[in-house]
């Protein structure tokens, strides 16, 4: 399974590009862990996750074709 990850703001700076693909991630908890291992700087940022443009508030299954967005705190306005 391949999922599409898009990152924004300072997370895009850390991850290096704003679109990446990751294989075999079952849910958002696992995704957070994998990202945290690959990019230790992420541990200093509290970020939200949206799946298919909807905010996720608890651990959520990730399915094939989902678009997963990593969202650092918003600062528009």
């Amino acid at each position: 399974m391949e999922i599409k990850i898009i990152a924004f703001g300072q997370i895009a700076d850390i991850i290096g590009n704003s679109i990446m693909s990751i294989n075999e991630i079952k849910d958002t908890e696992e995704l957070r862990k994998k990202l945290s291992n690959a990019f230790p700087q992420l541990n200093e940022i509290s970020y939200g996750i949206a799946i298919n443009k909807k905010n996720i508030n608890k651990n959520t299954e990730i399915n094939m074709g989902d678009i997963v967005a990593l969202l650092p705190p918003f600062s528009g306005g």
Binding site: I6, F8, G9, Q10, D13, A50, K53, A69, L71, P72, P73, F74, S75, G76, G77
Partner: protein, 153 residues
Amino acid sequence: MESKKIKKIFVEGAISPEFVGDSIAKHSTKKSIGAHSIFLGQVRNDRINEREVIAINYSAYTEMAEEKMHEIREATFNKYELTCMHIYHSIGTVNVGEISLFVFTSSKHRKAAIEGCNELVERIKKEVPIWGKEIFEDESFQWKTNANKSIEL
């Protein structure tokens, strides 16, 4: 009611004062309007660790922002008796002294326009996926955080 279609909110670069004036002028034909409330966000020359901000570069998760904005528009139209609602946010670079956010509500009586406008500003800042990167005079930058936002209010 303009609440049914998804409206574009993003404009490239700063929002010009003339654009605001033109938007106001368009409402002279809507003769049941008694009150307009407008909020404008302007980029500030904050000093952070001896460096002065000269611009903010805004980026957004556009598709999600537009959906979220649509949801906020609908909720605000349902909550307040508004005749019109217009919202614009900059994407890209906005220099200090320029406008990056324009929220504009109109209603028969002033209470709805004023309260609707305030609620829109609060919800946009809190709920819409937009990020500002503060650019300093030496070309270094830092991502804006919401940390001091809660102190502001």
